[in-house]
Amino acid sequence: MADVLTFTDSGIYCPAGDFFIDPWRPVPKALITHGHSDHARPDMGRYLATEGTAPVMQYRLGPEARIDTVRYGEARRIGDAKVSFHPAGHVPGSAQIRVEVKGEVWVASGDYKTVDDGLSEAFDAVPCHAFITESTFGLPIFKWTPQEVLAQQLNDWWQANAAAGRASIVGAYALGKAQRLMRAVDAGIGPMLTVTAVENTNEVLRAQGVNLPETSRITEDVSAKSHPGALIIATPGSTTHNWVRRFPGAATAFASGWMSMRGVRRRRGTDRGFVVSDHADWDGLNAAIKATGAEKIFVTHGYTGTFQRYLAEQGYDAHVVSTEYTGDDAEDAA
């Protein structure tokens, strides 16, 4: 039987439907799992994404991008392929893409996580013959802090800083992680501030009906004086910008899956590291793969070689595929 999906220099390709999934080179037809920049790239002829992903893509790729939308679970016929999108639990609107050709089902999962983050649509295991998985955190050293413990840690940290008259700056990825933290904390502790990249994403998400707590954008006149004891949600790159000086003595933290490693925490030079990721941890990856019932597994990015070997030892027909996905948290760690 011919492969439902193949791996090309431009991305994951479906010959029966003549379309690509998350391609990294310009192609006529692109199906997109989610809005992160390593998966939703510019210059595609046409895009197809979920209703929850399209607004962020439109904002990031510009008004010229031609994006068609689809609901979760809605079946579409493209050429000889039957296609549907299913929640991946990674960020709001993120999807696994199910492709069926002559009864053979393959699923490209993009990025995913299996735990409920209180924000994204919950991951849905899709039965399939072949499953394409990431492995950003595909080592047994990665185990995430449960969401309620994380919330408690964040609140305690923020509260202690606020009581000491300090602002709390936490670095997190602008789409997904930032909003997840906002929803997890107790908004009663103090004001919440955001840097531009985060607030712009907030606006897009609020407009599509995602419920987020009240936040204020950091403008020239926002400082430790105007917003005492604030929690500031910043992108990893923005914590060296000028606005930081208006919050002297602020406590700093970074929220990422890499924070589970001591060496990474130390090199970051922040006061605190919160272990939180929008990717699956070791147990999550293994549980998700098992739940699909797939026998053939393709590993796209992360600790690919190691994870493939482990899967092969567990009896899967596992392969490494080289792609240009970087994993958002991988960027965060650089």
Binding site: L139, P140, I141, F142, K143, W258, S260, M261, R262, G263, V264, R265, R266, R267, G269, T270, D271, R272, G273, Y303, T306, R309, Y310, E313, A330, A333, A334
Partner: protein, 529 residues
């Protein structure tokens, strides 16, 4: 252990001195007294000995976590720390308990006396009752590798804050050969008796590096001598006994039995600051010879013959039982010269000779000959300076000789640990041997993050072969490698081993065929080995 884990996390995750000192001071106020003493002990290098081998721990952890050995090893490679890897891969504890730090250290010490299967059961039971951050600390204590990013000085400052005593007094109290099993908080910290421990050395005064001494002012205000390449130490003769302390605050008395006779010629109530050197025919044998002695706790006669050790005296800190550190250096030195004048030549102590100079240029000429004398450069001390504690700027300077360098070709690259697991940061370098490239050293520091990224991108595109995590790359890039010393080595294909090799710069300007040769290395070995 929870309190201690919180302390560790607060210290470990910040670079701010204020935060570290606050965390230590609050621990010293809140923890039970016996835990405080253990904390001080751990921070001053008084760690419990390794109780279980690393090999066993790996096996047990992989077994408990249900992982194949190779996967445990790959995880270890990424994390870069065994204690941490174990703490991360194990399943969550089934029954958390919060025992004191002292409880866990006592548990660990008791492991030494039991059968291996009991030891294994005890370790696994401990793992099962500790959450990962506490488990990590337990593992560190277990493997004898406990270290924290805090100097003894910072700890002393925190102790000063929490007890109200001054730092210098506390520093002195913490020196000497105490252990938490032989002392109490009351005795160690609260009691006012600085002479209680006769073995106690003075805190060492450390020099700052200087690049050009011209700014130091009039040469006549300064005294110069050679910077000997051995182990800094103090020789103490008090109460009829003698002690030798290293700068690392370790008692080394028994490792250098030949120095016992010094006590017969130096009066009681004497403390001399100096350098332990392997030395024969009035010349140093080099650090390599001394290194052979450091590891030996029992010293065989052959080692005493082949690598005899002397004490090269720099300074007199205690004279006739009195602390004279506040006296001017020139006066202390005069007393030292007096004391050593009549010591016979067969006794293994020497006065570090003064290097006379009129101008800084004179001194620069002497410095340039340092390698010929097997010394690291020069020490420059202000004649009227007191003997201070720690690394204080202004009075003592070290003017080191430039490192040796060689241009070498990168032939293998390996990924780093942790965040650097995605970057190639560990390289193997080679020199030309005819048409062939002979590897001679590895180096993994000295480049900027941007350079590491650039090399990584290049390695990905120019890999010839993969051997596990190691990649053989096209011989193309030349790096200037700096190192402090060179010695013959039968374990290396090149026949040489370098001391402290690191990348000085990436020689993008240099074509690969202009890198140095094995003959060049052998020439260096002849000159400086």
């Amino acid at each position: 252990m929870k309190q201690f884990a919180t302390l560790f996390a607060r210290i470990d995750e910040t670079t701010k001195t204020r935060v570290k000192v606050d965390a230590l001071a609050s621990y010293l106020s809140a923890a039970p007294p016996e835990d405080r003493v253990w904390m001080i002990a751990l921070f001053t290098g008084r760690r419990p000995k390794r109780a279980v081998t690393a090999t066993r721990l790996r096996e047990w952890a992989a077994e408990v976590a249900g992982l194949p050995d190779w996967l445990f090893e790959e995880s270890y490679h990424v994390v870069g720390d065994l204690a941490e890897t174990i703490s991360l891969v194990l399943p969550d504890p089934t029954h958390e308990v919060d025992h004191s730090l002292t409880h866990w250290i006592t548990t660990i010490k008791a492991l030494a006396g039991v059968e291996e299967n009991q030891r294994k059961a005890a370790v696994i039971a401990a793992w099962d009752s500790l959450v990962p951050d506490q488990r990590f600390l337990f593992n560190k204590l277990l493997t004898g590798g406990f270290r924290m990013g805090v100097s003894a000085k910072l700890m002393t400052r925190a102790l000063a804050i929490s007890t109200g005593q001054d730092e210098a007094t506390l520093t002195h109290k913490l020196m000497g050969s105490w252990s938490p099993e032989t002392t109490t908080w009351e005795h160690l910290i609260e009691t006012e008796d600085p002479t209680a421990d006769l073995s106690r050395p003075y805190p060492f005064y450390l020099a700052h590096p200087v690049d050009v001494p011209d700014d130091l002012g009039a040469p006549s205000d300064w005294h110069a001598e050679r910077k000997w390449d051995g182990i800094r130490g103090q020789f103490i003769h008090r109460g009829g006994a003698h002690y030798i302390w290293s700068r690392g605050e370790e008692v080394m008395t028994d490792r250098f039995p030949e120095l016992a006779q010094l006590a017969d010629f130096l009066p009681d109530g004497t403390v001399i600051d100096g350098e332990l050197l392997a030395f024969a025919d009035e010349a140093p044998l080099g650090f390599n010879a001394l290194q052979k002695r450091i590891g030996l706790k029992k010293v065989p006669a052959k080692a005493l013959r082949d690598s005899p050790v002397i004490f090269m005296a720099y300074d007199l800190l205690e004279h006739a039982g009195a602390d004279i550190r506040q006296t001017a250096f020139a006066e202390r030195r005069a007393l030292l010269i007096d004391m050593l004048r009549d010591v016979p030549a067969q006794i293994p102590i020497r006065l570090s000779q003064e290097v006379a100079f009129k101008t800084w240029d004179d001194l620069a000429k002497v410095r340039s000959l340092s390698r010929d004398h097997n010394v690291e450069g020069l020490m420059i001390k202000r004649k009227d300076s007191p003997y201070l504690a720690g690394r204080k700027r202004g009075d003592w300077w070290k003017w080191k000789v430039d490192p040796l360098t060689i241009d070498a070709v990168m032939i293998y690259a390996q990924s780093g640990h942790g965040r650097r697991a995605n970057l190639f940061t560990d390289y193997t370098f080679a020199v030309w041997n005819g048409e062939e490239l002979t590897p001679f050293t590895k180096a993994y520091s000295g480049l900027t993050d941007a350079e590491f990224r650039e090399v990584t991108a290049w390695v990905r595109k120019n890999t010839l072969q993969k051997f596990g995590p190691v990649r053989q790359v096209k011989p193309h890039h030349v790096f200037e490698i700096a190192f402090e010393g060179i010695q013959p080595s039968s374990r290396h294909k090149s026949g040489v081993a370098l001391r402290f090799p690191r990348m000085l710069r990436w020689r993008k300007d240099k074509p690969v065929d202009e890198a140095n040769t094995l003959d060049d290395l052998n020439e260096m070995l002849k000159l400086y080995g």
